[in-house]
Amino acid sequence: MPEPSAATLIEESEETSSTTPPEHQEVRTGRSPGQVAWARLKRDKVAIICSAIILFFLLVAIFAPFLVSLEAVDPITGAKADPSTVHTELVDFNGLPTVGASSAHWLGVEPRLGRDLFARWAYGARPSLIIGFVAAFASTIVGVALGLVGGYLGGATDKVISWIIDFFLSLPILLLVLAIIPIMQKRIAAGNDLTPEQTSAIRFWVLIVILVVFGWMGLARLVRGEVKSLREREFVQAARAIGVPTRSILFREILPNLVGPIIVSASIAVPAYITYEATLSYLGAGLVEPTASWGRTIADAQNLFATYPLWLWPSVIGLSLLVLALSLLGDSIRDAFDPTSRR
């Protein structure tokens, strides 16, 4: 056997190797794909404007009590405004407010109940944001977990999970959710005498649970498909050959490769859930009084939209702007992870 000479390293010749596909050329700077996406996002003007809008609403929600405290003392009631106190002395016999927008009530007061509309609006940002983010987070966990398990294990487990995904995807979800929410509410509240606040709180969490139960399938399907193809990739086989335990393979080898699609999916889910909550509240199965919610306010205010537009429009603008900013940011995030998607 002819003895081969010791390896001579000509790195330069390897650098020009034509086996390097073009997409590997641009990332030569020692950054992970996530860092590359982040750098792209920071250069995206739309993303920056949207982030500013979202930040604005986050601040409104967090500092709602402080913002409301900036309103002047009402000369008639002699009290500071808050979102829940009813002031029938501020409305006439037809339920129309007797006071307009003023330093005490920046957006006037609510017809019929006389509650401060600015306080209702500022506090109304809270349930939208909490439901949007909590439901998106929870459904991402569920979707990723089921997708990982189904895609990696295959076999009967995968068949069952796929069937459940198909099943949920073919349900008329809005109608079903509308029907289930009051039923679940009754089941939880059965036999207890609850205050309106307690009922409202129960409804809030029931809503999140239902949104998650009916919202995980898209991501699960995506993750399952990706895992099925990643599982056959040689780096997973290499990890198995080394003896890396299955759990580590899933979480350390496969999952990091799915960070992009998962972040994109979660960022698109947030506005979707906020929309869903508002739609449900409008149709009568969402949040209930006395919780301040934009969706409920829109539903109540539509009856007086012509005579009292100040009731309707702040919530319409708040909801639309927040959901629009979150959606466009989601689109920007997707473009940052996959620049070819916007051509």
């Binding site: 029907a179 289930i180 009754k186 739609t279 409008y282 829109i298 319409v316």
Partner: protein, 328 residues
């Protein structure tokens, strides 16, 4: 091929059956008592409550209720009402607890209104979506392309019900630019004119995603080698676009169209409610408020069947186009 259709149909059937069983358990085994809801609070006493419970069959064991319901779906069943026996033919969805009319009558008479709304919306979103999508693809990178894509993103991002509500409130109710909905019994002309506003807003908002689908599909097709070959042969740009590009670009759009039927159903539900269109979505929502379980069940079932059947049709149609699908 036949086996694929059978296998796919069996899957679809299993989904429908699972929907039926789980919906039944959810509604009929639930804690909500429809008899209580039907019993007027001022005149309600235990005897009357019991009579109502008995008359709508809620006193029987759950399994018996289910079997009765199941049998009704496939062979029909008879109802005894005010001394008369009323036959309800298959697929019998039961009798409304509230109106005491058959659910079939309640829902199927309203179904055409929903279908008309969905079809009119489909005409709007397919024409608008595809036209603007192709326009954007052909003028790729130009200001009009960016404007169209941006507008479709904005339109598709704002909560649909807010847009629909604003259209219903301002142009229709306040300014009377477009007529309000009226039943077909009031005349065919006013009926379709009344459908215009809901169909337009539903169609326009849905078209937002189709502008982007069509644009991307068209751009992908136009970058294919065979398009370049066609151009290099000197074929007119018009022929290249419509004869070669358009056809290939449309097949993915057709698939998405079939699969979007679930989203469209959700859209009609909201639209019907906001514009007062007397369709099954609006009827279902009304039934929710009075806990009229058979009507809710019927609406959910019809919705599930429509979605499952549409998905099935798309899958089978697609397997004719692309035989690889059958093997997976």
């Amino acid at each position: 091929m036949l086996t694929y259709i059978l296998r796919r149909s069996a899957l679809a059937l299993s989904v429908i059956m699972a929907t039926l069983v789980s919906a039944f358990l959810l509604f009929f085994a639930g804690p909500s008592d429809p008899a209580q809801a039907m019993c007027p609070e001022t005149k309600c006493n235990p005897a009357r409550l019991e009579a109502i419970t008995k008359s709508i069959g809620l006193d029987k064991p759950l399994i018996e209720q289910f079997l009765t319901y199941f049998k009704g779906l496939f062979v029909g069943r008879d109802f005894v009402y005010a001394g008369d026996t009323v036959h309800c033919g298959a697929p019998c969805l039961g009798f409304s607890f509230v109106t005491r009319r058959s659910v079939n009558e309640e829902l199927f008479t309203r179904f055409p209104n929903t279908v008309v709304l969905a079809l009119m919306a489909a005409v709007v979103f397919v024409t608008v979506g595809v036209t603007f999508g192709i326009l954007a693809a052909v003028r790729r990178g130009s200001a009009s392309d960016r404007g169209l894509v941006g507008a479709s993103q904005v339109l598709g991002s704002i909560p649909y019900y807010v847009l629909a509500l604003l259209v219903a409130l301002y142009p229709v109710i306040l300014w009377n630019v477009l007529p309000q909905y009226s039943a077909i019994s009031a005349g065919v002309g006013p009926y379709f004119m009344g459908m215009l506003a809901p169909a337009l807003i539903l169609g326009l908002v849905t078209s937002a995603s189709y502008v982007r689908y069509t644009r991307n599909s068209m751009i992908e097709t136009l970058s294919m080698d065979y398009i370049r070959t066609a151009r290099s042969k000197g074929i007119s740009e018009r022929t290249v676009l419509f004869k070669h590009g358009f056809r290939a670009a449309m097949s993915p759009i057709a698939t998405i169209l079939g699969l979007d039927i679930a989203a469209l159903l959700t859209g009609t539900l909201i639209t019907e409610q906001i514009f007062g269109v007397d369709g099954i979505g609006r009827r279902g929502l009304a039934a929710l408020r009075s806990f009229d379980l058979p009507v809710i069940m019927g609406t959910v079932l019809i919705g599930a069947v429509v979605v499952v059947v549409m998905n099935l049709v798309v899958d089978i149609a697609y397997s004719f186009i692309d035989p690889r699908v059958r093997l997976s």
